[in-house]
Symmetry: C2
Subunit: 340 residues, 2 copies
């Protein structure tokens, strides 16, 4: 009888021992939530279910690891794009830094507006003004020099509202999604309208994404070798405009197959999502909707930056794309945010 | 005394037991040769020593996995490029396959030469003739259609001399090098003057290299969406000419860092090797020299295909690049080769 009692109580005794040391035996431990910054709901459920369906070998929608490709837009999808694209702020900063070597800029309207911090003039910038600023600050140096300039700026410049480094203004829920996908054998790519080399300067540290998985707008490069070691010049000529149709075109160029999942936030991502959906099997198309003025920004169809048009919303609904409400679906937006 | 004798003889007895079953105990088993198709010598030694130096954590030249990038030219470096580039043979085959839909080709000199198998005329082809043939056979279809055409051709067309599929005409020693590098944490890329999509059609199966690690010459693509699912059109306009300066430029575009090792065989690879060598630490620059007319082909400075000029050889010697003699350094060239 004693032996029988011991037989019955021993497991519980051992269990209580484990518990008293703060440990739970593996069998009864709940798996850690891979998306803790997401509120429970349909959006989170869809993402988790997509990952389960494509990675569970018993699932009819199982996809081999080599085909698990997920693409992410950057501005407005992975980090803040308001009140101005980060890279444009970098360009304006560069104009100021370079002004002493360009005395003529004082007589050029666009450059003068930047140097004078003339916000009214800046707000009226035409596309031509912007291209002039970008060409002056993003070309005419080696890739190595550009790297140093961008990294220096990213290490110190702060977002005007949050007073944090721009790389700290990444969306915590999206960092979790990327990590979760990678933990499940997905390769995560950035497919951005922004400059490829600029994004490469911080993507590894901020997102865990290596340079070869960054697809972005790119200027022509020129290999130069005279006496001594060669260098790579950034030319003031556009090679790839990685936006709208350019996104699926460059996905084909760089990756050579359709993504299984694609994440965007604006009209520029429409074609990437269509291209993703046109593949066979289970696919995940996601649009981040900026509807949280309190914690971030609220904008959509009327915004010049990150336009989310009514027709995009209509297509998303018709095609069954997942539209994320930052306000309702995200428990926390930034890692620095103090939770209520 | 008997026990002592037993003590001494037992290990040998056990060893002989293992040997009699064709097994050697692990402790005394020599590590498998990663490069069995290479003759022992300076070339093989250099490659093995480079891998050891960059992957041994105790080595002063140790390189973290993320930076272990190796790039390979394709034609003449990984597979046969004589008597004509494989992709050109594919193009000629496509001209014949498409002729019924192009009655006008009979009146066009270049196309007529192909259709008539006029070898004398083919040998005199100008660059313009070739571009015309390439444009007609490589553009004006979707990427999906091109994929099917190239794969169909690769599955049946045979090399005129070896009577083997072209993918079987890969160099066994190079397949071993790629496998060896990957087993040591290297990422292997193809950086070819040939067409990117054409090479992607066989690279996974023939070389174990996935589509996203193929950098090649590329035409412009056009995303098209009307009613129904979108498609990707191949346009008759060149986007990237991935040869000479184009190789390091596209390595920067696709990978974003310098390779640690680069393998080529001709003047078109010179800049890729220079770019590789200009990086810090241990670097490996290799040129395959075709000097074996008996088992493969012997050509160099005078050859139109795969030119290995005297100035390239001079640069290789001056810079300490490894020049592989196919005749002396390779025990076996093809997997189908019968060893003497």
């Amino acid at each position: 009888m004693l032996r029988r009692a011991l037989f019955l109580t021993l497991p519980f005794f051992l269990l209580s021992l484990c518990l008293s040391h703060g440990q739970v035996p593996k069998q009864i431990q709940a798996p850690a939530d891979p998306l803790p910054s997401w509120n429970e709901g349909a959006a989170k459920k869809s993402i988790v279910e997509f990952v389960r369906a494509t990675t569970d070998t018993a699932s009819p929608k199982f996809v081999p690891i080599a085909q698990r490709i997920a693409t992410f837009d950057n501005d407005g999808t992975l980090w803040v794009e308001q009140p101005m694209y980060t890279q444009l702020m970098f360009a304006l900063g560069r104009v100021k830094a370079m002004a002493t070597q360009h005395a003529d800029w004082k007589d050029k309207e666009a450059f003068k507006a930047v140097l004078d911090d003339n916000r009214a003039a800046l707000a009226k910038f035409t596309k031509k003004d912007l291209l002039e600023i970008i060409a002056a600050t993003h070309a005419g140096m080696t890739t190595r020099e550009f790297d140093a300039q961008a990294k220096d700026w990213l290490a110190t410049a702060k977002h005007p509202r949050y007073k944090k480094l721009f790389t700290e203004c990444a969306y915590q829920p999206m960092l979790e999604v990327m990590k979760y996908l990678r933990a499940n054998g997905f390769k995560t790519y950035i497919v951005t309208g922004g400059g490829q080399q600029f994004v490469r300067c911080f993507s590894e540290q901020a997102y865990g994404i290596p340079p070869e998985q960054i697809i972005g707008s790119s200027g022509r490069l020129k290999y130069v070798k005279e006496a001594g070691p060669p260098s790579m010049l950034r030319l003031p000529a556009l090679l790839l405009l990685n936006d709208e149709e350019g996104k699926p075109e460059d996905i084909q160029l760089f990756i050579g197959c359709k993504p299984l999942a694609a994440f965007g936030n604006s009209d520029g991502d429409r074609q990437m999502l269509e291209w993703t959906q046109s593949g066979a099997g289970s696919r995940l198309m996601v649009l981040v909707h900026h509807d949280d003025a309190e914690r971030e920004y609220a904008y959509g169809a009327q915004s010049k930056i990150g336009t989310f048009s009514d027709s995009l919303m209509a297509e998303a609904k018709q095609q069954g794309w997942l539209v994320i409400s930052m306000k309702n679906d995200w428990k926390q937006i930034f890692s620095f945010e103090v939770l209520k």
